[in-house]
């Protein structure tokens, strides 16, 4: 099962996603796929806040800021216990894939890497909860680079929503079902 969870900044989407997977996780091995690259103190604080939120919930953390398909190699392959995972979040992953080592990769390549990687992971992950970000409604016209980033985010969200069993938007901490069932 693939569940896509979206929302704005400070919408409570992370807390909701963590609750969601925790409710599913009884008999499964539960992974948290962290994608954020830390550049400064603020980033560090953000990571700490999220770590605190996850504490005691039994997550195994995998850090994977690019090349998401590589997560498969870091997961245990004991078939008697199935793996489930929470990936947080697509907006970091897209930024990391797009703006890497002073270079800018084009939208199509980024999309291919992320969608391809996730499709690959879905073969072995029983329940995959993916958090993305609603970056589409601030009415600002950005420069070409940022616009390409937003476009990539939009297209990736659409692709993920297509293959998702459930799409949920979190608004002020309240889940709103956008799609249920394929």
């Amino acid at each position: 099962m693939l569940v896509l969870i979206t929302g704005g900044s400070g919408s409570g989407k992370s807390a909701y996603a963590e609750d969601y997977i925790t409710k599913l996780s009884k008999d499964y091995r539960k992974y948290y796929i962290a994608t954020m690259q830390v550049y400064d103190e603020e980033g560090q604080e953000r990571v700490c806040r999220h770590q605190k939120m996850r504490q005691g919930k039994g997550f195994i953390t995998i850090e994977q800021s690019t090349d998401i398909h590589q997560v498969a190699d870091k997961m245990e392959k004991n078939t008697t216990v199935e793996n489930i995972a929470l990936l947080e979040c697509i907006s970091n992953l897209v930024a990391n894939e797009m703006f890497c080592a002073g270079q800018i990769r084009n939208c199509a390549l980024v999309k291919k890497s992320i969608i391809g990687g996730i499709e690959e992971l879905l073969k072995t992950i029983k329940d995959f909860i993916i958090v993305t970000n609603n970056v589409f409604e601030d009415g600002i016209t950005y420069d070409e680079t940022t616009t390409n980033y937003i476009r990539a985010m939009g297209e990736i969200n659409q692709e993920l929503a297509k293959i998702a069993d459930k799409v949920i938007e979190v608004v002020v901490g309240i889940p709103i079902i956008v799609k249920e069932g394929r």
Binding site: G8, S11, V172, G173
Partner: protein
């Protein structure tokens, strides 16, 4: 308490007023009512409406206030009030650190207000969707 959210110019205040007389309400804009206004509304059975709550948040953060504590205290004193706020978090994370803080803190306090609210309504095109 009732929380009403939505994008700008979606008719949130009109939705809340719902054709009632303006005099049925004590409406404050981008601020919290002072003790006098609060008392006056209590005495006269008026519903307090905090319109443009996000603007109050923005000003409070700018002034270095503990806005979260202040609004929660206010709501415990005015449990029947209506808080109206724009949704401001649905965009690219701003480069400016104040703008980032404003979005984050406003988002998080709204989650908290939504938890406490008896009713949460999201207004789009003037139409209210009751989401809690």
């Amino acid at each position: 308490m009732k929380l009403v959210i939505g994008g700008y110019f979606q008719g949130k205040l009109d939705y809340v007023l719902g054709g009632n007389m303006l005099t049925d309400f004590c409406i404050v804009d981008g601020e919290l009512p002072n003790a006098e206004q609060l008392q006056e509304s209590k005495d006269n059975g008026k519903t307090v409406i905090v319109n443009h709550f996000h603007e109050w948040m923005r000003a409070s953060i700018r002034q270095g206030k503990n806005a979260e504590q202040e609004i929660l205290e206010f709501i415990s004193n005015a449990p029947g009030c209506i808080v109206i706020s724009d949704e401001i978090g649905n965009g690219i994370v701003p480069i400016d650190s104040f703008e980032r803080e404003y979005r984050e803190r406003t988002g998080r306090i709204m989650v908290k207000l939504a938890e406490q609210a008896d009713e949460v309504v999201r207004v789009i095109c003037g139409i209210g969707q009751r989401i809690k």
